[in-house]
Amino acid sequence: MPTTKNLYGRRLTGYAIATAIVLTASIALAFFYAPIEVDQGFSQKIFYIHVPLAIVTLGGFIFGGIFGIQYLRSGDTRHDLRSYTAIHQGLIFCIGALITGSIWAKAAWGQWWVWDEPTLVSFLIVFLLYCTYQPLRFSIEDPERQARYAAVFAVVAGVFVPVNFIAVRLASPLIHPRVLGSSGGSLPNDMRIAFYSALLGITLLFITICKYEMASKHSRAQMAALRRSLSEESDEPAAIRTAAPRIAIK
């Protein structure tokens, strides 16, 4: 019988509770504590959801690359799963950042999208780049090759993310504001508190969802191993092609 280990679900409850508390508090701070910005008015409240989503997205992609390096160095499939999950969730958060950003653009600038703006276009390029990650994985049948190629992709694309970020910051902004700068983005203290709590809340949400996703994938792999051990047939059923990493249960 396969041994069952709680590898990914540890401290999940704690993270989930912390996420619920911090996220709720940060939304309350954004609406009831942070002042209304003079130039943009009430629409600036979108800032407290859009910017943390964008930052956590880019962080997730970078962590995907770091786990990719760890996989290439060790060959441990757990790192492949971590890399996959970070990129997968990063992509979902990226969609959230793009949609909320587009709504904010419409409210503030009167346009859903501005093609001349380097920040917007570069973020879209990063999104489109990572959109190819799942098809890449799905196109490779052999699990070992799939994990290796995906790790190489995660590393190369993960390096591209900070390079792209620096290049955009060096470019002259047209209308998109710079949030985190040496001057602290010129945010007043009460806005800064609301912003950092929102950033913490979204980061906790990302970690909780990643841990939940990994625990869920691990339980399904454990169940598949249990089914195989209980099955009368000695032949292993043919593996279904999937983009998700295959977890080895010892």
Partner: protein, 63 residues
């Protein structure tokens, strides 16, 4: 106290609702997966019970 909403309230509400909607979609997908795992686990438990009671699944089903 003024009863009028500040301008652009609709856009702010839309942005936060999009975030909530994505989160809800994720919860729904995860709930479907959890239900599937529970169902498969029940099947495996039945199989394990049959095995422990000494009869093969085929024998038990023919009874």
């Amino acid at each position: 106290m003024s009863n009028t909403l500040p301008p652009n309230t609709g856009y702010v509400a839309a942005a936060y609702l999009v975030f909530l909607f994505i989160l809800l979609i994720y919860i729904v997908i995860m709930a479907i997966r959890a239900a599937r795992v529970e169902r498969e686990l029940a099947e495996l438990l039945t199989k394990a019970d049959q095995r422990n009671s000494g009869g093969t699944p085929a024998e038990t089903s023919s009874q």
